[in-house]
């Protein structure tokens, strides 16, 4: 369903994955992705589980006029004074 370059750890989707931002973020903790917003939610264009792909994905998001999507820690409790 998806193309995957041998040299890259980034998956560029042949067919965009339709989702909502909440669904995608909640289901893919730790993943960084690129998605294009539309009236129904987001079309995921590419994603990676490697933090080192962050810059490439940000540049891709910029070139596609899309959104760079990232997940944040959900473990533990951090309080701010």
């Amino acid at each position: 369903m998806y193309s995957r370059s041998i040299k890259s750890t980034i998956t560029y989707c042949e067919k965009p994955i339709m989702t909502t931002l909440a669904e995608w973020l909640n289901a893919h903790i730790g993943r960084i992705s690129v998605g294009r917003k539309n009236k129904d939610g987001y079309e995921i264009l590419a994603y990676s589980d490697e933090n080192s792909d962050s810059k490439e994905l940000r540049q891709y998001a910029h070139s596609q006029k899309a959104t760079y999507i990232t997940s944040m820690d959900t473990e533990g409790v951090t309080a701010i004074d």
Binding site: L25, T67, M72, I80
Partner: protein, 161 residues
Amino acid sequence: MIKTDIVAEMVGSEYRIPVDMGGIAFSIKFDNGAGSTVVSIDAYAKNLSDDEKNRIKDYCESHSSGKSRFRSASGDFFFGYPVIANNVFLGNTCFKEFYYYIVIENKRNISLLGVDFLDNCEYVHKPHENIVISSFDEISYSGRSMNIIDNNDLVTFIDSL
């Protein structure tokens, strides 16, 4: 008051809200134990080098009136710089102004929606259900006068690294 329909959904042991902010999207933790809304630099770019983080820190130092000192539950101290972002979506609700502190040095990548925002919200939580924010007092929330970093400029700077 403006009507909102923001759902903080239970994920693991936390309530989280999706945020779309100027080409960056992530989820933020509903945290009424946090005094301030903070977002770590990891939301913008993961795997930044120390040199890149130092350059971002210098940028924030020179583009804001000051920084605030925070302490995490684990006892670590860290600094945050005030930022304003325009047209930020929390769920499906767009906020003309959204204020937060960008955190650069903290060891953990955190995103917390704190009391500075939640204090302006009317929200409902029923047992075993999500939290729903139904209205928001944008008048009391908006119009901070301090010298503050523009989110768009910050993103442009980070992209240039």
